[in-house]
Protein backbone atom coordinates (compact mmCIF):
# COMPACT_ATOMS: atom_id res chain seq x y z
CA UNK A 1 0.00 0.00 0.00
CA UNK A 2 1.38 3.42 -0.93
CA UNK A 3 1.47 6.40 1.36
CA UNK A 4 -1.81 8.29 1.08
CA UNK A 5 -1.98 12.08 0.89
CA UNK A 6 -4.15 13.47 3.71
CA UNK A 7 -5.52 16.82 4.93
CA UNK A 8 -4.03 17.94 8.24
CA UNK A 9 -4.54 20.95 10.51
CA UNK A 10 -1.27 21.78 12.21
CA UNK A 11 0.17 24.55 14.37
CA UNK A 12 3.60 26.05 13.87
CA UNK A 13 5.08 27.71 16.95
CA UNK A 14 7.56 30.57 17.05
CA UNK A 15 10.48 28.16 17.14
CA UNK A 16 9.26 26.52 13.98
CA UNK A 17 8.10 23.41 15.75
CA UNK A 18 5.25 21.68 13.97
CA UNK A 19 2.37 19.99 15.75
CA UNK A 20 -0.40 18.25 13.83
CA UNK A 21 -3.78 18.74 15.55
CA UNK A 22 -6.46 17.29 13.32
CA UNK A 23 -6.44 14.87 10.43
CA UNK A 24 -9.09 13.96 7.87
CA UNK A 25 -9.41 10.28 7.09
CA UNK A 26 -12.00 8.10 5.42
CA UNK A 27 -14.12 6.01 7.74
CA UNK A 28 -15.50 2.55 7.00
CA UNK A 29 -18.26 4.09 4.86
CA UNK A 30 -15.72 5.97 2.70
CA UNK A 31 -16.81 9.35 4.03
CA UNK A 32 -14.26 11.85 5.24
CA UNK A 33 -14.16 12.33 8.98
CA UNK A 34 -12.04 14.73 11.00
CA UNK A 35 -10.18 13.16 13.88
CA UNK A 36 -8.41 14.97 16.69
CA UNK A 37 -4.79 13.99 17.22
CA UNK A 38 -4.83 13.17 20.91
CA UNK A 39 -1.16 12.59 21.50
CA UNK A 40 2.11 12.71 19.61
CA UNK A 41 4.09 9.73 20.82
CA UNK A 42 7.27 10.82 19.07
CA UNK A 43 8.47 12.68 16.01
CA UNK A 44 11.60 12.28 14.00
CA UNK A 45 13.30 13.99 11.09
CA UNK A 46 14.16 11.80 8.13
CA UNK A 47 16.15 12.54 5.01
CA UNK A 48 15.88 9.47 2.83
CA UNK A 49 17.24 10.06 -0.68
CA UNK A 50 18.02 13.59 0.49
CA UNK A 51 14.38 14.66 0.83
CA UNK A 52 13.55 16.17 4.24
CA UNK A 53 10.51 14.65 5.92
CA UNK A 54 9.20 14.85 9.50
CA UNK A 55 7.57 11.72 10.80
CA UNK A 56 4.94 11.94 13.55
CA UNK A 57 3.78 8.84 15.34
CA UNK A 58 0.50 9.80 16.99
CA UNK A 59 -2.71 8.59 18.54
CA UNK A 60 -6.16 9.45 17.27
CA UNK A 61 -9.40 8.34 18.86
CA UNK A 62 -11.70 6.62 16.44
CA UNK A 63 -15.08 5.78 17.89
CA UNK A 64 -14.27 4.43 21.30
CA UNK A 65 -10.77 3.22 20.57
CA UNK A 66 -7.31 4.72 20.26
CA UNK A 67 -5.46 4.14 17.04
CA UNK A 68 -1.76 4.75 16.43
CA UNK A 69 -0.92 6.21 13.03
CA UNK A 70 2.22 7.48 11.34
CA UNK A 71 1.96 10.64 9.34
CA UNK A 72 4.75 12.33 7.45
CA UNK A 73 5.19 15.98 6.60
CA UNK A 74 7.15 16.66 3.42
CA UNK A 75 9.16 19.79 4.10
CA UNK A 76 9.78 20.64 0.45
CA UNK A 77 6.28 20.11 -0.92
CA UNK A 78 4.36 20.90 2.30
CA UNK A 79 2.30 17.76 1.86
CA UNK A 80 1.12 15.37 4.55
CA UNK A 81 0.88 11.65 3.91
CA UNK A 82 -0.43 8.77 5.95
CA UNK A 83 2.23 6.07 6.09
CA UNK A 84 0.50 2.76 6.43
CA UNK A 85 3.34 0.51 7.41
CA UNK A 86 3.41 -0.53 11.04
CA UNK A 87 7.14 -1.18 11.18
CA UNK A 88 9.17 1.94 11.77
Amino acid sequence: MLHIPVDVVATFNVQGKIKPNYIRLEDDNYTLQTYRIEKIIFSREEKYAGLPVILFCCNISRGNQMQTINIKYHVRTHQWVLAKESKL
Binding site: P5, K47, G50
Partner: protein, 419 residues
Protein backbone atom coordinates in the same frame (compact mmCIF):
# COMPACT_ATOMS: atom_id res chain seq x y z
CA UNK B 1 53.32 12.85 6.63
CA UNK B 2 51.44 10.89 4.02
CA UNK B 3 48.12 12.21 2.93
CA UNK B 4 44.95 10.26 3.56
CA UNK B 5 42.40 10.29 0.76
CA UNK B 6 38.94 8.70 0.65
CA UNK B 7 37.00 8.02 -2.51
CA UNK B 8 33.29 7.56 -1.88
CA UNK B 9 31.18 6.00 -4.59
CA UNK B 10 27.40 5.47 -4.45
CA UNK B 11 26.50 1.86 -5.36
CA UNK B 12 24.41 1.88 -8.57
CA UNK B 13 23.49 5.46 -7.82
CA UNK B 14 20.43 6.16 -9.96
CA UNK B 15 18.91 2.81 -9.11
CA UNK B 16 19.62 3.14 -5.37
CA UNK B 17 18.15 6.62 -5.22
CA UNK B 18 15.09 5.50 -7.12
CA UNK B 19 14.71 2.51 -4.78
CA UNK B 20 15.00 4.62 -1.62
CA UNK B 21 12.50 7.13 -2.98
CA UNK B 22 9.99 4.46 -3.77
CA UNK B 23 10.42 2.72 -0.41
CA UNK B 24 10.43 5.66 1.95
CA UNK B 25 8.73 8.51 0.13
CA UNK B 26 6.13 6.70 -1.93
CA UNK B 27 5.70 3.86 0.53
CA UNK B 28 6.16 0.99 -1.92
CA UNK B 29 6.91 -2.38 -0.37
CA UNK B 30 9.21 -3.67 -3.09
CA UNK B 31 12.89 -2.74 -2.94
CA UNK B 32 14.24 -2.33 -6.48
CA UNK B 33 17.70 -3.22 -5.21
CA UNK B 34 16.60 -6.75 -4.31
CA UNK B 35 15.15 -7.66 -7.72
CA UNK B 36 16.48 -7.52 -11.28
CA UNK B 37 15.68 -3.91 -12.10
CA UNK B 38 17.02 -0.95 -14.03
CA UNK B 39 16.57 2.75 -14.58
CA UNK B 40 16.05 3.08 -18.32
CA UNK B 41 15.23 5.70 -20.92
CA UNK B 42 12.21 5.90 -23.16
CA UNK B 43 12.23 3.50 -26.11
CA UNK B 44 9.64 5.52 -28.02
CA UNK B 45 11.83 8.60 -27.98
CA UNK B 46 14.85 6.45 -28.86
CA UNK B 47 16.48 7.16 -25.53
CA UNK B 48 16.24 3.45 -24.92
CA UNK B 49 19.32 2.51 -22.92
CA UNK B 50 19.95 1.18 -19.43
CA UNK B 51 21.18 4.02 -17.21
CA UNK B 52 21.72 1.97 -14.04
CA UNK B 53 20.93 -1.56 -12.94
CA UNK B 54 20.57 -3.43 -9.68
CA UNK B 55 23.01 -6.06 -8.45
CA UNK B 56 20.55 -8.91 -9.24
CA UNK B 57 20.22 -7.49 -12.79
CA UNK B 58 23.99 -7.44 -13.09
CA UNK B 59 23.98 -11.20 -12.53
CA UNK B 60 22.02 -11.58 -15.77
CA UNK B 61 24.87 -9.82 -17.58
CA UNK B 62 23.05 -6.51 -18.06
CA UNK B 63 25.42 -3.61 -18.33
CA UNK B 64 24.93 0.13 -18.11
CA UNK B 65 24.57 1.43 -21.66
CA UNK B 66 22.90 -1.69 -23.06
CA UNK B 67 19.81 -1.09 -25.15
CA UNK B 68 16.50 -1.94 -23.52
CA UNK B 69 15.95 -4.63 -26.16
CA UNK B 70 19.23 -6.36 -25.37
CA UNK B 71 18.57 -6.14 -21.65
CA UNK B 72 15.14 -7.73 -21.99
CA UNK B 73 16.65 -10.58 -23.99
CA UNK B 74 19.03 -11.26 -21.10
CA UNK B 75 16.33 -10.93 -18.45
CA UNK B 76 12.70 -10.88 -19.64
CA UNK B 77 11.40 -10.09 -16.14
CA UNK B 78 13.55 -6.99 -15.75
CA UNK B 79 11.63 -4.25 -13.92
CA UNK B 80 12.32 -0.92 -15.59
CA UNK B 81 11.62 2.50 -14.15
CA UNK B 82 12.01 5.89 -15.83
CA UNK B 83 14.74 8.29 -14.67
CA UNK B 84 14.00 11.08 -12.24
CA UNK B 85 16.82 13.56 -12.49
CA UNK B 86 15.75 16.20 -10.01
CA UNK B 87 15.60 13.50 -7.34
CA UNK B 88 19.15 12.43 -8.23
CA UNK B 89 20.33 15.99 -7.85
CA UNK B 90 18.73 16.22 -4.39
CA UNK B 91 20.20 12.89 -3.29
CA UNK B 92 23.61 13.86 -4.61
CA UNK B 93 23.57 17.15 -2.72
CA UNK B 94 22.61 15.43 0.54
CA UNK B 95 25.41 12.89 -0.03
CA UNK B 96 28.04 15.62 -0.49
CA UNK B 97 26.69 17.49 2.53
CA UNK B 98 27.35 14.49 4.79
CA UNK B 99 30.89 14.18 3.42
CA UNK B 100 31.50 17.82 4.26
CA UNK B 101 30.78 17.01 7.91
CA UNK B 102 33.85 14.78 7.88
CA UNK B 103 36.33 16.87 5.95
CA UNK B 104 36.64 20.49 4.88
CA UNK B 105 38.10 19.39 1.56
CA UNK B 106 35.57 17.52 -0.59
CA UNK B 107 35.88 17.26 -4.34
CA UNK B 108 32.70 16.20 -6.08
CA UNK B 109 33.98 14.10 -8.95
CA UNK B 110 30.63 13.31 -10.51
CA UNK B 111 26.99 13.13 -9.47
CA UNK B 112 27.63 9.96 -7.44
CA UNK B 113 31.27 10.03 -6.39
CA UNK B 114 33.58 12.28 -4.45
CA UNK B 115 37.07 12.51 -3.03
CA UNK B 116 37.69 13.61 0.56
CA UNK B 117 41.05 14.73 1.84
CA UNK B 118 40.91 13.20 5.31
CA UNK B 119 44.57 13.89 6.19
CA UNK B 120 43.71 16.10 9.15
CA UNK B 121 40.34 14.77 10.19
CA UNK B 122 40.30 10.97 10.00
CA UNK B 123 42.09 10.60 13.30
CA UNK B 124 39.24 12.37 15.09
CA UNK B 125 37.34 9.14 14.66
CA UNK B 126 40.10 6.71 15.50
CA UNK B 127 41.73 5.01 12.57
CA UNK B 128 41.16 5.68 8.87
CA UNK B 129 39.08 2.57 8.38
CA UNK B 130 36.90 3.45 11.37
CA UNK B 131 36.28 6.90 9.90
CA UNK B 132 35.47 5.40 6.49
CA UNK B 133 33.04 2.94 8.04
CA UNK B 134 31.43 5.76 9.98
CA UNK B 135 30.87 7.77 6.78
CA UNK B 136 29.46 4.75 4.99
CA UNK B 137 27.06 3.90 7.81
CA UNK B 138 25.96 7.47 8.38
CA UNK B 139 25.02 7.80 4.71
CA UNK B 140 23.10 4.54 4.86
CA UNK B 141 21.27 5.38 8.09
CA UNK B 142 20.34 8.92 7.16
CA UNK B 143 19.87 8.82 3.42
CA UNK B 144 19.03 5.14 2.95
CA UNK B 145 21.51 4.17 0.24
CA UNK B 146 24.81 2.32 0.32
CA UNK B 147 28.25 3.51 -0.74
CA UNK B 148 31.72 2.05 -1.14
CA UNK B 149 34.66 3.85 0.41
CA UNK B 150 38.20 3.48 -0.88
CA UNK B 151 40.97 4.49 1.51
CA UNK B 152 44.53 5.32 0.50
CA UNK B 153 47.21 7.97 0.30
CA UNK B 154 46.30 9.41 -3.08
CA UNK B 155 43.33 9.80 -5.39
CA UNK B 156 44.04 7.06 -7.92
CA UNK B 157 44.56 4.40 -5.26
CA UNK B 158 41.49 5.49 -3.31
CA UNK B 159 39.44 5.35 -6.50
CA UNK B 160 40.73 1.90 -7.39
CA UNK B 161 39.98 0.71 -3.84
CA UNK B 162 36.36 1.89 -3.90
CA UNK B 163 35.88 -0.19 -7.04
CA UNK B 164 36.79 -3.49 -5.37
CA UNK B 165 33.99 -5.73 -4.12
CA UNK B 166 30.59 -3.99 -3.85
CA UNK B 167 28.23 -2.98 -2.31
CA UNK B 168 28.38 -1.27 1.08
CA UNK B 169 32.06 -1.95 1.85
CA UNK B 170 35.23 -0.15 2.89
CA UNK B 171 38.49 -1.15 1.17
CA UNK B 172 42.02 0.08 1.69
CA UNK B 173 44.71 0.19 -0.96
CA UNK B 174 47.79 1.63 0.67
CA UNK B 175 51.03 1.71 -1.36
CA UNK B 176 52.33 -1.46 0.30
CA UNK B 177 49.16 -3.30 -0.76
CA UNK B 178 49.39 -2.40 -4.47
CA UNK B 179 51.18 -5.57 -5.43
CA UNK B 180 48.80 -7.83 -3.56
CA UNK B 181 45.49 -6.11 -4.31
CA UNK B 182 45.83 -4.20 -7.58
CA UNK B 183 48.50 -5.79 -9.76
CA UNK B 184 46.60 -9.01 -10.30
CA UNK B 185 43.60 -7.17 -11.78
CA UNK B 186 43.03 -7.12 -15.56
CA UNK B 187 44.48 -3.99 -17.11
CA UNK B 188 41.10 -2.59 -18.21
CA UNK B 189 40.12 -2.18 -14.57
CA UNK B 190 42.67 0.60 -14.25
CA UNK B 191 41.28 4.11 -14.26
CA UNK B 192 41.95 5.82 -17.63
CA UNK B 193 42.27 2.53 -19.52
CA UNK B 194 39.32 2.43 -21.90
CA UNK B 195 38.49 0.05 -24.69
CA UNK B 196 40.97 1.45 -27.22
CA UNK B 197 43.86 1.49 -24.76
CA UNK B 198 42.94 -1.98 -23.56
CA UNK B 199 43.11 -3.36 -27.10
CA UNK B 200 46.51 -1.78 -27.73
CA UNK B 201 47.84 -3.06 -24.39
CA UNK B 202 46.60 -6.56 -25.15
CA UNK B 203 48.45 -6.41 -28.48
CA UNK B 204 51.60 -5.63 -26.53
CA UNK B 205 50.94 -8.67 -24.36
CA UNK B 206 50.04 -6.57 -21.32
CA UNK B 207 47.00 -8.07 -19.62
CA UNK B 208 47.23 -7.19 -15.94
CA UNK B 209 47.87 -3.94 -14.10
CA UNK B 210 51.03 -5.52 -12.66
CA UNK B 211 52.39 -6.23 -16.14
CA UNK B 212 51.69 -2.64 -17.10
CA UNK B 213 53.47 -1.37 -13.99
CA UNK B 214 56.58 -3.39 -14.84
CA UNK B 215 56.65 -2.44 -18.53
CA UNK B 216 59.47 -0.18 -19.67
CA UNK B 217 58.19 3.38 -19.72
CA UNK B 218 59.84 4.09 -23.09
CA UNK B 219 57.79 1.35 -24.73
CA UNK B 220 54.61 2.87 -23.36
CA UNK B 221 55.68 6.34 -24.45
CA UNK B 222 56.32 5.06 -27.95
CA UNK B 223 52.85 3.57 -28.22
CA UNK B 224 50.69 5.94 -26.18
CA UNK B 225 52.72 9.16 -25.97
CA UNK B 226 51.72 11.22 -22.90
CA UNK B 227 48.87 8.86 -22.03
CA UNK B 228 51.45 6.10 -21.58
CA UNK B 229 53.08 8.02 -18.75
CA UNK B 230 49.72 8.55 -17.08
CA UNK B 231 48.67 4.90 -17.09
CA UNK B 232 52.20 3.81 -16.12
CA UNK B 233 52.17 5.98 -13.03
CA UNK B 234 48.60 4.97 -12.18
CA UNK B 235 49.59 1.29 -12.44
CA UNK B 236 52.37 2.02 -9.98
CA UNK B 237 50.01 3.88 -7.69
CA UNK B 238 51.57 7.27 -8.32
CA UNK B 239 49.24 10.27 -8.52
CA UNK B 240 50.30 13.72 -7.40
CA UNK B 241 46.95 15.45 -7.97
CA UNK B 242 45.34 17.00 -4.93
CA UNK B 243 41.73 17.05 -3.79
CA UNK B 244 40.35 20.39 -4.95
CA UNK B 245 37.15 21.51 -3.30
CA UNK B 246 36.36 24.10 -5.93
CA UNK B 247 35.29 23.03 -9.39
CA UNK B 248 37.64 24.31 -12.12
CA UNK B 249 35.98 26.56 -14.71
CA UNK B 250 34.35 24.75 -17.62
CA UNK B 251 36.58 24.35 -20.66
CA UNK B 252 33.66 23.97 -22.99
CA UNK B 253 29.88 24.06 -23.10
CA UNK B 254 28.02 21.64 -25.30
CA UNK B 255 24.66 20.00 -25.69
CA UNK B 256 23.38 17.32 -27.98
CA UNK B 257 20.06 15.66 -28.56
CA UNK B 258 18.84 12.43 -30.07
CA UNK B 259 15.86 13.45 -32.15
CA UNK B 260 12.69 11.37 -31.79
CA UNK B 261 12.44 10.97 -35.58
CA UNK B 262 14.97 10.79 -38.43
CA UNK B 263 15.70 14.23 -39.85
CA UNK B 264 16.20 14.27 -43.59
CA UNK B 265 15.70 17.93 -44.43
CA UNK B 266 18.05 20.78 -43.71
CA UNK B 267 15.44 23.16 -42.36
CA UNK B 268 14.31 20.81 -39.59
CA UNK B 269 17.94 20.10 -38.74
CA UNK B 270 18.59 23.82 -38.46
CA UNK B 271 15.61 24.13 -36.17
CA UNK B 272 17.13 21.48 -33.92
CA UNK B 273 20.41 23.39 -34.07
CA UNK B 274 18.57 26.55 -33.03
CA UNK B 275 17.07 24.81 -30.04
CA UNK B 276 20.53 23.52 -29.08
CA UNK B 277 22.03 26.97 -29.61
CA UNK B 278 19.39 28.38 -27.25
CA UNK B 279 20.44 25.93 -24.57
CA UNK B 280 24.19 26.28 -25.02
CA UNK B 281 24.23 30.06 -25.20
CA UNK B 282 21.87 30.38 -22.24
CA UNK B 283 24.35 28.32 -20.24
CA UNK B 284 27.25 30.47 -21.46
CA UNK B 285 25.44 33.63 -20.45
CA UNK B 286 24.43 32.21 -17.08
CA UNK B 287 28.11 31.57 -16.29
CA UNK B 288 29.13 34.97 -17.70
CA UNK B 289 31.49 33.54 -20.28
CA UNK B 290 31.83 33.61 -24.06
CA UNK B 291 33.02 30.99 -26.51
CA UNK B 292 35.41 31.44 -29.39
CA UNK B 293 35.10 28.08 -31.12
CA UNK B 294 31.84 26.50 -32.23
CA UNK B 295 31.65 22.87 -33.28
CA UNK B 296 28.75 20.71 -34.39
CA UNK B 297 28.39 16.97 -34.50
CA UNK B 298 26.05 14.83 -36.58
CA UNK B 299 25.24 11.19 -35.95
CA UNK B 300 23.37 9.63 -38.85
CA UNK B 301 20.93 6.74 -38.73
CA UNK B 302 23.81 4.31 -39.30
CA UNK B 303 25.43 5.65 -36.10
CA UNK B 304 28.23 7.28 -38.05
CA UNK B 305 29.48 10.36 -36.31
CA UNK B 306 30.98 13.41 -37.94
CA UNK B 307 32.02 16.75 -36.53
CA UNK B 308 33.21 20.06 -37.79
CA UNK B 309 34.35 23.26 -36.08
CA UNK B 310 35.16 26.89 -36.75
CA UNK B 311 36.53 29.90 -34.97
CA UNK B 312 34.33 32.97 -34.56
CA UNK B 313 35.61 36.46 -35.41
CA UNK B 314 35.35 37.26 -31.74
CA UNK B 315 34.06 35.41 -28.66
CA UNK B 316 30.30 35.31 -28.34
CA UNK B 317 27.42 34.01 -26.26
CA UNK B 318 24.64 35.37 -28.46
CA UNK B 319 22.11 32.72 -29.43
CA UNK B 320 21.81 34.03 -32.99
CA UNK B 321 25.55 34.09 -33.58
CA UNK B 322 26.07 30.58 -32.22
CA UNK B 323 23.18 29.38 -34.36
CA UNK B 324 24.46 31.12 -37.47
CA UNK B 325 27.88 29.54 -37.05
CA UNK B 326 26.28 26.12 -36.45
CA UNK B 327 24.21 26.41 -39.63
CA UNK B 328 27.27 27.35 -41.64
CA UNK B 329 29.10 24.32 -40.27
CA UNK B 330 26.08 22.15 -40.92
CA UNK B 331 25.88 23.17 -44.58
CA UNK B 332 29.55 22.31 -45.00
CA UNK B 333 29.35 19.00 -43.19
CA UNK B 334 26.03 17.36 -43.94
CA UNK B 335 26.03 14.80 -46.73
CA UNK B 336 22.25 14.37 -46.84
CA UNK B 337 22.02 11.13 -44.88
CA UNK B 338 19.12 11.05 -42.42
CA UNK B 339 20.17 12.38 -39.02
CA UNK B 340 19.65 10.75 -35.65
CA UNK B 341 21.52 13.02 -33.32
CA UNK B 342 22.79 16.60 -33.46
CA UNK B 343 25.10 18.45 -31.10
CA UNK B 344 26.69 21.84 -30.62
CA UNK B 345 29.87 22.20 -28.63
CA UNK B 346 31.62 25.45 -27.82
CA UNK B 347 35.15 25.86 -26.53
CA UNK B 348 38.03 28.32 -26.06
CA UNK B 349 36.07 29.93 -23.29
CA UNK B 350 36.71 33.57 -22.38
CA UNK B 351 35.70 34.92 -18.97
CA UNK B 352 33.30 37.85 -18.75
CA UNK B 353 30.59 38.94 -21.12
CA UNK B 354 31.03 42.66 -21.14
CA UNK B 355 33.93 43.28 -23.45
CA UNK B 356 33.48 42.44 -27.08
CA UNK B 357 35.60 43.09 -30.12
CA UNK B 358 33.21 44.64 -32.63
CA UNK B 359 33.72 43.90 -36.27
CA UNK B 360 32.66 45.90 -39.26
CA UNK B 361 29.95 43.56 -40.41
CA UNK B 362 27.63 43.36 -37.44
CA UNK B 363 28.19 46.58 -35.58
CA UNK B 364 24.64 47.39 -34.65
CA UNK B 365 23.31 43.90 -34.38
CA UNK B 366 25.51 42.85 -31.49
CA UNK B 367 24.12 45.34 -29.04
CA UNK B 368 20.53 44.67 -30.03
CA UNK B 369 20.92 40.92 -29.89
CA UNK B 370 22.64 40.91 -26.54
CA UNK B 371 19.87 43.05 -25.10
CA UNK B 372 17.33 40.67 -26.57
CA UNK B 373 19.08 37.65 -25.04
CA UNK B 374 19.29 39.37 -21.69
CA UNK B 375 15.58 40.14 -21.76
CA UNK B 376 14.72 36.56 -22.74
CA UNK B 377 16.97 35.13 -20.02
CA UNK B 378 15.35 37.36 -17.41
CA UNK B 379 11.85 36.36 -18.46
CA UNK B 380 12.74 32.67 -18.48
CA UNK B 381 14.38 32.88 -15.08
CA UNK B 382 11.29 34.48 -13.60
CA UNK B 383 8.49 32.62 -15.36
CA UNK B 384 10.09 29.38 -16.58
CA UNK B 385 11.79 28.21 -19.76
CA UNK B 386 8.56 27.86 -21.67
CA UNK B 387 7.26 31.36 -20.94
CA UNK B 388 8.89 32.76 -24.06
CA UNK B 389 9.49 30.74 -27.20
CA UNK B 390 10.68 31.60 -30.70
CA UNK B 391 7.77 31.53 -33.11
CA UNK B 392 9.39 28.88 -35.35
CA UNK B 393 8.97 26.33 -32.59
CA UNK B 394 5.22 26.89 -32.21
CA UNK B 395 3.37 23.68 -33.04
CA UNK B 396 6.61 22.28 -34.42
CA UNK B 397 8.03 18.85 -33.76
CA UNK B 398 11.08 20.26 -31.96
CA UNK B 399 11.15 21.48 -28.36
CA UNK B 400 12.56 25.00 -28.17
CA UNK B 401 15.47 24.18 -25.86
CA UNK B 402 17.05 20.83 -26.63
CA UNK B 403 19.91 19.05 -24.97
CA UNK B 404 20.72 18.16 -21.42
CA UNK B 405 18.02 16.49 -19.40
CA UNK B 406 14.62 16.81 -21.00
CA UNK B 407 11.81 18.00 -18.78
CA UNK B 408 9.81 14.81 -18.56
CA UNK B 409 12.78 13.03 -17.05
CA UNK B 410 13.01 15.34 -14.09
CA UNK B 411 9.85 13.98 -12.63
CA UNK B 412 8.15 10.89 -13.95
CA UNK B 413 4.38 10.86 -14.02
CA UNK B 414 3.22 8.30 -11.52
CA UNK B 415 -0.27 7.05 -12.18
CA UNK B 416 -1.08 6.90 -8.50
CA UNK B 417 0.00 9.19 -5.72
CA UNK B 418 1.11 12.76 -6.01
CA UNK B 419 4.60 12.95 -4.60
Amino acid sequence: MDRLIFHIDVNSAFLSWEAVYRLHIRGEKRDLRDIPSAVAGDVKKRHGIILARSTPAKKYGIRTGDTIGDALKLCPDLVMVPPHYDLYETSSEAFIEILKEFSPCVEQYSVDEAFCDMTGTAWLHGSAVVAATLIKDKIYNELGFTVNVGVSTNKILAKMASDFKKPNLVHTLFPDEIEKKMWKLPVEELFFVGNATKRKLHNLGIRTIGELARTDLDILRAHFKKHGEVIYSFANGIDMSVVVDEAPPNKGYGNSTTIAFDVDDGSTAKMVLLSLAEKVSTRLRADRVMATVVAISIVDIYFRRQSHQMQLYSPSNITNEIHKASCKLFDQLWDGRPIRQLGIHTSKIVQGNNSKQLNLFDMNRYEKLSKLDLAVDTIREKYGDDSIVRAVFLDGPVYHMSGGVSKDKNRPKYNDGIL
